[in-house]
Structures are given as C-alpha cells and as structure tokens.
C-alpha cells in the first residue's frame, strides 16, 4: 500500500561540539528536558502529524540510539506496514560504504523508501528541539504545487551569515540559495527540514551519486542542483520554537527555556502535542521535609533532600541533604552528595558528585561558562570543577579542574 508521505530522519551526527556528552552516544540520543532525548521531538512530531513510517539513518555510536528506539512502541511507531526502522550503513554485494553525506545516506536507502512507494518524502534532522506540524508543511507544499520545499525561520539580520539562507520572491518561491554568505540577501534560514516529491528526490539523488566531485550533501549539492534546473522550490515559514542544540551552551540554554514555557515558546506541557519518550518506570519523586524546590522540573524517581532552584532533574536523580543545585541540568541516575554545590552546569547521566564538591559557578563578570561533567564520571569529595571545564574522566577527591 502506498504511503502519502514518509519521513527520513538524519540521526548520524556525532555532535562533536558536545564532546563529553557524545563520547558514547550519537547527538540525537542526548537527554533533554527532564525525561526526553533530542530525537523524541522529531519522532513525536511525526506521529502527531500523522506520519507512520520513519527511517532513522544512524552512523556514529548507534548503540544507545538503537536500543532507545527499539521497536518504536513508545511513539506508537510499531506498525504492521511502516513504523520506525533504524537504517545503519550496510554491506552490499558491490561493497560497503559509510554514509558519505546527508544525501548519500538517503541514496543508500532508496530501496527502503520504494517499499512504501510514497508521493512525498520529508527529510528531518535528529538534532533539533522543535515542535512542528509536518502536515501543515505538506499542505503548503501541495498548495504551491512544489517539487521541493524547505522549512525556514526568520533570523536576526546580523546573525544571518551563520546560516544557509533562502532568497524568495513574494510568492515564497526560492530564487537563490546562499550558504553562510558574507553579505546575506535574506534572513530566511533553512531549518534543514525538506519535503520532496519522491520522484524528484530519487532523480537528484541518483544524479548526485553519479557525480564524483559531489560531497553528497543536501545543502551543498542537491539544493543548488535543483535551483540550477529551475525546479519549483518554495520556502515554508515556521515561526515556532526551534533550536539546534549543537553546543553545550545552547543545550543548557534550551533546557532552561523548557522551565519558562510562558516566555520561551517551548511548551512540553501541551496535551495536544505530546512529546513521547521511553519511560523510566520509577516511582513518583520525593521531596523531603527539609528540601527546597523552586522553579524547577523534577521527574519520577528523584529524591530531593537538598536545595534545587531553577534546574531540570531527570529520572532517578538524588540530591542529598545540604547539597545545592541551581541553574543546572542533571541527567538520569546522577547523585549529588551532601554539601556539594552544583551550579550553572550540565551533569550527564549516572554521575556521582562527591561530598562538598563544587561544580560550575553562577555567571559573573565575563565568565558565563557552563561546566560539563560527562556520563558515568565520579567527582571525588571536595573536588572543584571550574565553570569552563568539561570533564569526562573521574576526578579525584580534592582535585581541581578548570
């Protein structure tokens, strides 16, 4: 049975700028917002938009991601025909290749797409925090009779040169594409989310593959080729919350924005657009008689005996008596021992912060660093982690890291 539109989700990104957090897992698997991983956002968007077939293209450190996606049941993507499929690079009779670029990753899975014989294919990115109705995007694509559409966001003009920009006419038709230009002619930044007519996509992927000089990339190769041929290309304006959480500071910031849905625009409390995730299955969290919890988000399994202010605590985090947590993102299973001070930082999963240790610091003049402690790290009693430090190995008691 043919599907109207299926999704291909690019989830191979290493996320090298998140370094300590992505040593052992791909960026889309990085925990976010108290009980989610980044990839929950595009996956939930798919299901909420009525897309029931998703191919997830993985490459870098796929183990955690594979296990997390499983059969897709948490997102209601365990389907008889369709559902979610993890698509790593594989060996073929003619040889085997890593995915050379974003376009090549899709090219290598043409046979997967053809099984569903879709009219449209939406290409998604697995490393953005965004709640978006892809069905509205498709409606636009059909209305414009487009062959290719790209979702764009208006960005401030002074930042425009950091993005891939779409120059459009009054009818949103794309006339020019500028990749990180010095002199931007537009402030419409590509979000890296595309809808293609499948026949067009297939044709251009095959042509691109045949070109030995191509980097096999959507932004650098496919889109310029489409433009050159004068295809019907349109820009779909998206004005909701969108964040590429590619750096420690943007990841921290996006988490903090979740705490302030009224002003930030990222509302994960919306019953009509739920974000689904694999559940921890822990009991409700406990706040003891002596604890302080202010302006924070706390998940199942947490035990709060200390002070937690303006922070996000993932499942099963323990904050012992006298410990202080402020402006912090503390991921699942981590323990903040008695008297420790954890501020303005990201503490990854299963970390132990020893007694009276200090991690990070509230911003002061010229010092806005977000300290980061990688997964599984033990920070010894009385150790000190400076506000710009990124720690991915155990820190001995009393030691200082800057």
């Amino acid at each position: 049975m043919a599907k109207e539109m299926i999704a291909m989700l690019l989830a191979g990104g290493q996320g090298s700028r998140l370094y300590a957090l992505t040593q052992k897992l791909a960026k889309p698997a990085v925990p976010f917002g108290g009980k989610y991983r980044i990839i929950d956002f595009p996956l939930s968007n798919c299901v909420n938009s009525g897309i029931d077939t998703v191919g997830i293209l993985t490459q870098y450190q796929p183990m955690v991601l594979n296990e997390y996606i499983g059969n897709g049941q948490p997102w209601d993507l365990d389907r008889l025909h369709g559902g979610v499929h993890v698509l790593p690079p594989y060996q073929q009779a003619t040889g085997s290749d890593w995915y050379k670029g974003t376009a090549n990753a899709i090219y290598q899975n043409i046979s997967f797409i053809e099984r569903y014989n879709p009219q449209y294919v939406i290409i998604l990115s697995g490393d953005q925090i965004c709640k978006q109705d892809y069905s509205d995007f498709l409606r636009f694509h059909k209305e414009k009779n487009a062959e290719f559409s790209v979702a764009v966001m208006e960005v401030p003009w002074d930042e425009a040169s950091r993005f891939g920009l779409m120059v459009t006419d009054d009818n949103d038709k794309i006339t020019e594409f500028q990749e990180k230009p010095k002199n931007p002619k537009s402030n419409l930044a590509s979000m890296g989310i595309y809808i293609f007519n499948w026949d067009i996509l297939k044709k251009y992927l095959e042509e691109d593959e045949a070109d030995p000089n191509s980097a096999n990339d959507f932004g650098n190769n496919i889109i310029p080729n489409l433009l050159k041929d004068g295809r019907n290309m349109y820009a779909y304006h998206f004005s909701g919350y969108w964040k590429d959480v590619g750096t420690i500071s943007s990841l921290w910031e996006a988490n903090m924005e979740v705490l302030d849905p009224e002003n930030s625009g990222i509302d994960i409390f919306d019953e009509n657009w739920k974000i689904y995730s694999r559940n921890s299955g822990m009991t409700g969290h406990r706040v003891s008689g002596d604890a302080v919890v202010e302006n924070s988000m706390i998940t199942d399994g947490c035990r709060i005996n200390g002070s937690v202010k303006h922070s996000i605590l993932f499942a099963g985090v323990k904050v012992e008596p006298g410990a202080q947590v402020e402006d912090a993102v503390v991921m699942g299973g981590s323990v903040i021992k008695a008297g420790a001070v954890v501020k303005h930082c990201i503490v990854a999963e299963n970390v132990e912060i020893g007694e009276n240790a200090i991690v990070g610091a509230m911003p002061s003049d010229g010092e806005k660093g977000v300290a980061t402690v990688g997964p599984g790290v033990t920070v010894g009693d009385g150790a000190k982690i400076g506000p710009n430090a990124m720690v991915y190995e155990d820190v001995k008691g009393g030691e200082e890291k800057w």
Partner: protein, 380 residues
C-alpha cells in the same frame, strides 16, 4: 523449561474485597484503585508475578472491570503480550442461567477447561487488595520442596478494624491460620482474636491437577469459598503448608487504611521496601516532568510526573497530572490523577478521586481519623 520461567500460571481475583471501600469502587474494582502516586493496586501483585517468571496470568473478573481492562490493555507494560500465555482477562458470561460468581470456587469453575489446557504444573492465586513486592519464586520453591498440596502465604499482622465489623464480615471473609511446624492445622474464618495473628494474604500455590479436581467436585456440591469449603474442612487429608512473608505490605481494608497506606510511603524506608527488590510496572501515560513554578512550596511529598505546582504542598501524595494553583494549600492529602486544586483553595486531610476539581478559594478539611473523600469527576 529454562530457569527464567516459573512452572506456574497466575490467577488474580481483581474484585476481592471490593465491598470494603465502596466509595473507591463506585466505578472500578479493587485491582484498579489508584495507589502510591502512579500505580493501581493490581500493579504490585502482577509485577511480582512477572518478575518471578510467571508469564501466563488470568484475571477472573466479576463486575465493574472497565477500568481494569483500560489499565491492563494488551498487558504490554507488564511484558505480557505473548503468543503463549500472556495476559488473559476472563469476564463473566452475561447469560441468564449463569450468575455472577460470589466465591472463588465459582470463579475458578468458569475457567476449568482453560486450566486443563495449560502446560504449567502449578497455579498461583492472589487477590489485589495487598500492595506487595512478593517473591513468588521463593514461595514456589518452598511449595515444591515441602511436597505440599497447597501453600498459603501469610503475614504476622493484627486484623484490621474492618475485620471486627459485623457489617463487613457479612460480605467479606478473612482467614487466619493455626500453624504447626509449617503445616496449617486450622483455618479460622473471620476470627476476632485480638493481637498479632497469622493473617492469610490469600496468596495460594496449588498443584494444578489437584485444583481442577477440587474445583470440579466442589462446584457440583454448590460450595462457594475455596478456603472455607475446600481447605478448612480438609486440613487433615490435605498437606497445606504456610509460607511466612516478612516484607513490607500495604493492605487496603477501608478508606482509613487506604489513606494511611498511601501516607506511609512518605517514609522513604517504606517506599524503598515496597519498590524493591524488583520494579513495579504500570500503564504509561507519557506525562511531562512535574513543574514547580515560582512561588511553589513543597515539603515532605511524593509526586508523580505531569503535575504543575504553584501553591503549597505538604505531607501529601500527588498522582499523575495534578495541578495545584497559585496560593492554594494542600496538606495531608491524597490527590488522585488529574485533580485540580484551583488558586487560593485549601484542602487538608482530603482524598480526591480522579479528575476532581476544587474550585478557586474553596476550603475543605477532614481529620486525621476521618479524611474527606471527593468522588471521581466531582467539582467542589
């Protein structure tokens, strides 16, 4: 069979002791009463079975089982969506000639043919009025080793006040045991003996073939109660062994105990005891994390996901999706899922059922010994 699986099938009687908490079972049954923040009573015994390798579990339901069906679904959360075994819900046939069962004998008689066709050698039976992390494996091992016909689990407990109330005893039966050298010598029905007793947990392990034979012959004689009519009167011929349980258990025997057993979980040693060694599974709701907005105050509480807290909450259990508005005060309460306490309202010693709304500025106050109960979907 590989060691991971127990050679036993489970049967749960989800309606047992319904009449003890008439308020809570208005639209549900004992097994689906919300408990401990994000669970239903049945989750404990069912998870215990699954964790001990029992992967063929039948529910013999009697009435009001809509909420149970909704909760259990396909059994996926308990890993019971199986081709062989898995979850099996047996509703009563709605035919004129077959009336709803009253005792366990009739209930079991309705699934005799099913039992005959199961491959497991032993049958584990339990009610859902006790929340417990129970080691069925240890009990099964003990049952096999002792060569018993039937093994009964019991706890050293005082009988609850409800067991002293004649109105209650007209409807429900409690069993206490006389034990010598591990063997049950006498089963007392509705004893009013004071002090700590060998109080049956109504968890039984029986050899399946024996059970089938017992039920077939008891059914034709018109017997109703397994314990009273089959076990108690045959203790000299049957080898009935007792299995003592010393762990943590929460037994619901009236509204007061329902309230108290919830509150006891605010003590982390109790909470840890109930939720270890094995996990307890429940239906997933995909709630967001709980949000404490500026101005919220929290003291000695247990809160599930999906809550939004803007007011003050103290000594309370909040189930999933509870909202506490600005300036609202919640003290010594058990608020079930999706209860809304609007701005400025104040509640103390209140048990609110699902989807209750306490409107702006309202005050409600029960007492330690008599918490106020607000029924499902009520707007106060």
């Amino acid at each position: 069979m590989v060691n991971a699986n127990a050679n036993a099938l489970g049967i749960i009687f989800p309606n047992s002791y319904d009449s003890l908490v008439p308020e809570l079972v208005g639209e549900r049954l004992m097994a689906s009463i919300p408990f401990a923040g994000r669970y239903r009573m049945v989750d404990f015994i069912l998870s215990s079975m699954v964790n001990c390798g029992i992967d063929n579990v039948s529910f013999v339901v009697r009435k009001n089982y809509h909420s149970l069906m909704d909760h259990l679904g396909s059994g996926r959360e308990w890993d019971l969506t199986r081709k062989n075994g898995g979850l099996n819900i047996v509703p009563p046939f709605s035919e004129k000639t077959i009336k709803q069962y009253t005792g366990r004998v009739e209930a079991l008689a309705s699934i005799l043919r099913f039992l005959q066709h199961q491959k497991e050698k032993y049958v584990v039976m339990a009610d859902a009025n006790i929340a417990v992390n129970f080691d069925f494996k240890a009990m099964l091992d003990a049952h096999i080793e002792s060569g018993a016909d039937v093994t009964i689990a019991y706890a050293r407990e005082e009988l609850p006040p409800a067991a002293m109330n004649d109105d209650v005893l007209n409807k429900e039966l409690y069993y206490t045991l006389n034990i010598r050298n591990g063997r049950v010598e006498k089963i007392f029905v509705n004893s009013k003996e004071p002090g700590v007793q060998n109080f049956s947990m109504n968890i039984y392990i029986v050899n399946k073939d024996l059970l089938i034979q017992q039920i077939s012959s008891a059914f034709v004689r018109g017997y109703m109660y397994y314990e009273r009519d089959i076990l108690a009167s045959h203790l000299d011929e049957l080898n009935v062994q007792a299995f003592r349980f010393d762990g943590y258990l929460a037994r619901i025997s009236d509204m007061k105990t329902y309230f108290d057993e919830n509150m006891k979980l605010l003590d982390e040693s109790n909470l840890d005891a109930l939720f270890s060694p094995n996990p307890v599974y429940t239906k997933i709701r995909d709630d967001n994390p709980t949000r404490y907005i500026r101005g919220a105050k929290a003291k000695n509480i247990m809160v599930a996901d999906g809550c939004v807290i803007e007011g003050e909450v103290e000594n309370s259990i909040l189930f999933r999706g509870v909202k506490v508005g600005k300036g609202a005060k919640v003290k010594n309460c058990v608020l079930m899922q999706d209860t809304v306490v609007e701005a400025g309202a104040s509640v103390e010693y209140v048990i609110s059922d699902k989807n209750v709304t306490i409107t702006e500025g309202k005050e409600m106050k029960g007492t330690d010994t008599f918490p106020v109960y607000v029924a499902k979907h009520q707007v106060v």
